[in-house]
């Protein structure tokens, strides 16, 4: 459908034309039949009129025809015709218009009138009536002398041209009325469709007028018809999503700029201070080491950002297969064991070997590593980090849980944003603030869900996916649920 307006107009006009055509045909058939019936009734009346002017006295039959009362039978132009026969006998009366000619009286006609259409003697199309009449006026009227009333065959014929003209006029008027109605319907339909589409144009104008730099919280569209409301609501939701994405983008850009400013300042100041004292080689070496460390840190951040960008563009390819979470979690905990010891954070690993899930092994290694290091880095000293696998109804969930009394529920939505930190200062130089953003992107790209929960000061990072490993893996999980602390 290229145009709603054209579609609606086509359908409305097509439908209206069909209805009008049907109605016109029905009306013309009904009216034509009425006219024909009326025409036939008129012929029958004329035949009955003949009966009233037939007289019988003994064997004598009189037909008292009056030219004044029935001038159509004597006129020169477009005359009507009749002919009378005594049943079983010859014709005894005919109209002047018939001259010496005869009309045909078909076989099988009795007391009931019969109509038929046939050419008139002058060649016009005519309508005929044939009937056998019994003479009413019989003399003497009573007594044994009264003769048996004679039966008279009557044929009356009349030209159909008036009927045909009336029918044609009727058809023309019907067609004209239909045309006028179609034009009227077209105009009304156009106006109605135009008005009906006005809210859609308003919606389009409102979307067109949007300034991407300053997207509103909601579109000001006023009253909308119920059919357009879902579209407006979806557009509104889309605008909000676009706005959120743009704000996230701007925030990320600002954060990247901010993240770069501090290390650049560090490089600048460290190198400038070292350069101010040309004799102090030790200071210069320390400055160089500092600059190298910062450059490595910046390089790691840039690599992660590039990886994030590639993930968002869908440029990375992943493999999906059975992966045992047990060794991956153990390896992550071993890698960050020093961090846990340094911060006096205990570890409880409930992930048994053989906890097989479906996913990309490398992705799972990165995500688990980020979740574990994050939990160890942010748990208050003296608390514990717990890792476990759950398999609720056709899914698997890896839960990494830690205490997080400083988090509030509103923080959860920001955890996956690049460079988001609870404390906006950059005091922890070893953490780029990109780990959870990268993990979320990796999880999303490999069909996994990474969600965060906060319940009474307990934070849970939950990596989940469809359980394709079957009951064997579930049994393996249950087989080894002993709590193990890292060495």
């Amino acid at each position: 459908m290229k145009s709603i307006r054209a579609f609606l107009l086509r359908r409305l006009l097509g439908g209206a034309a069909l209805v009008l055509l049907g109605a016109g045909i029905a009306v013309s058939v009904i009216v034509t039949r009425s006219l024909e019936a009326e025409f036939d009734r008129n012929l029958a009346d004329r035949a009955q009129a003949f009966a009233s002017i037939l007289f019988q006295a003994g064997d004598q039959i009189e037909f008292e025809f009056s030219e004044q009362l029935m001038p159509e039978f004597v006129r020169a132009e477009r005359p009507s015709y009749f002919e009378l026969w005594i049943e079983g006998g010859p014709a005894f009366e005919r109209s002047e218009s018939l001259g010496e000619g005869d009309l045909a009286f078909p076989d099988g006609i009795g007391g009931e009138p019969r109509h038929w259409t046939a050419p008139l003697p002058d060649g016009r199309e005519g309508r005929y009536l044939g009937q056998v009449l019994e003479i009413h006026h019989v003399y003497p009227e009573e007594g044994p002398e009264r003769p048996t009333p004679a039966r008279i065959r009557v044929v009356v014929a009349r030209g159909r041209e008036d009927l045909v003209a009336a029918q044609r006029t009727l058809l023309q008027q019907c067609a004209g009325a239909c045309l006028v109605l179609i034009v009227l319907i077209a105009v009304l339909s156009w106006t109605a469709v135009d008005r009906g589409l006005a809210p859609a144009r308003r919606l389009a104008a409102a979307v067109d007028a949007l300034d991407v730099q300053h997207l509103p919280e909601s579109l000001e569209l006023g009253e909308l018809p119920s059919e357009l409301r879902p579209l407006a609501d979806k557009t509104d939701a889309l605008v909000r999503r676009v706005d959120a994405a743009l704000q996230r983008e701007r925030r990320t850009t600002a954060d990247i700029a901010h993240e770069l400013r501090t290390p650049i300042s560090e490089i600048l100041i460290a190198s400038e201070v070292a350069l101010r004292d040309e004799r102090d080689f030790g200071s210069a070496r320390r400055a160089l080491a500092t600059v190298r460390g910062i450059a490595w840190r910046m390089g790691r951040s840039v690599s992660t950002l590039l990886q994030l960008a590639r993930l968002e563009m869908g440029a990375e390819r992943f493999e999906r297969g059975p992966v045992d979470l047990g060794p991956i979690v153990r390896e992550a905990l071993r890698t960050f064991a020093a961090l846990g010891r340094e911060r006096s954070v205990r570890v409880s690993n409930l992930v048994a070997p053989g906890s097989v899930v479906a996913g990309d092994a490398e992705v799972l290694r990165i995500v688990v590593s980020n979740l574990v290091s994050n939990a160890l880095a942010h748990s208050p000293p003296g608390t514990a980090v717990e890792c476990r696998v759950e398999r609720p109804r056709g899914r698997w969930r890896l839960v990494v849980q830690n205490d997080a009394s400083d988090l509030v529920p509103e923080d959860l939505a920001s955890l996956s944003e690049p460079f988001w930190r609870k404390e906006r200062s950059r005091s922890d130089r070893n953490r780029s603030g990109l780990g959870l953003a990268l993990s979320s992107a990796l999880a999303a790209q490999t069909g996994l869900d990474l969600e965060f929960e906060l319940e009474e000061g307990t934070f849970r990072a939950i990596l989940a996916g469809p359980d394709e490993a079957g009951p064997a893996a579930r049994e393996a999980d249950l087989a080894d649920l002993s709590s193990r602390s890292l060495p």
Binding site: T262, L268, I269, R276, A287, S425
Partner: protein
């Protein structure tokens, strides 16, 4: 002159401390806002170099905490936030100057020195008392046109006495402004430093820096 640097970046904090120390400033450092505020409240700093985004207590919180302090230091805010609104917010909160990261050490140093001069109400970078002339930007001192050969600590002592000229300066005050909290001077360090400085100022040194018995020292001379 004594400076407190409150900055959470270890690298930046250490580099700024090293750079300022080499320029003769007594430098204390703090890695978070709470410690910074505590140090600023309890010590007479001339300049406070303050990062805005700090752990535990942000820079604006530190500024708010210093609002009631008598003789509060002049504050140079360091931040990566460069929007006008951020600058206005910082200046309204009590900052005296604003430096956006990344910055050059030279500019940072010039701004710290400018704040020191503002604190002692000096408009010019060259201050003269009698025959003595001090270029606080070049950190050079000369007497009757002859350049004095001073160590950084001696120059700092002379600079402080010149900036406070006409006022009696107590030994503790000199200690507070010339030494940082981590470098506690020995009991007679100030006296011996003044003694050495006088000797380097020549025969007029004793007249230029006078001892007020039981009170401290005063540098006096005709204004130029």
């Amino acid at each position: 002159m004594r400076v407190l640097i409150v900055e959470d970046s270890d690298t930046l904090r250490d580099a700024l401390r090293t750079g300022l120390s080499r320029e003769g400033f007594a430098v204390d450092v703090a890695a978070d806002g709470k410690l910074g505020l505590s140090l600023a409240r309890s010590n007479p700093y001339d300049v406070l170099v303050l990062d805005l985004m700090l752990p535990r207590l942000d820079g604006l919180g530190v500024l708010a905490g210093l609002r009631e302090k008598k003789d509060r230091p002049h504050v140079l805010v360091l931040t990566a936030r460069d929007r006008i609104g951020d600058r206005v917010e910082g200046l309204n909160a009590g900052a005296d100057d604003y430096l956006v990261k990344p910055f050059a050490f030279e500019e940072f140093l010039a701004r710290v020195r400018a704040l020191v001069r503002r604190r002692y109400e000096e408009r010019s970078s060259v201050v003269g008392v009698g025959e003595l002339e001090l270029d606080v930007v070049a950190r050079r001192a000369s007497l009757a046109g002859t350049r004095l050969d001073l160590t950084a600590r001696e120059y700092s002592l002379l600079e402080y006495l010149v900036l406070r000229r006409g006022h009696t300066v107590q030994r503790e005050e000199i200690e507070d402004h010339i030494y940082g909290v981590t470098k506690l001077p020995s009991s007679n360090a100030v006296d011996s430093a003044v003694c050495i400085l006088r000797s380097k100022l020549g025969p007029d040194g004793k007249d230029l820096i006078r001892t007020r018995r039981g009170q401290g020292y005063v540098l006096e001379g005709p204004e130029r």
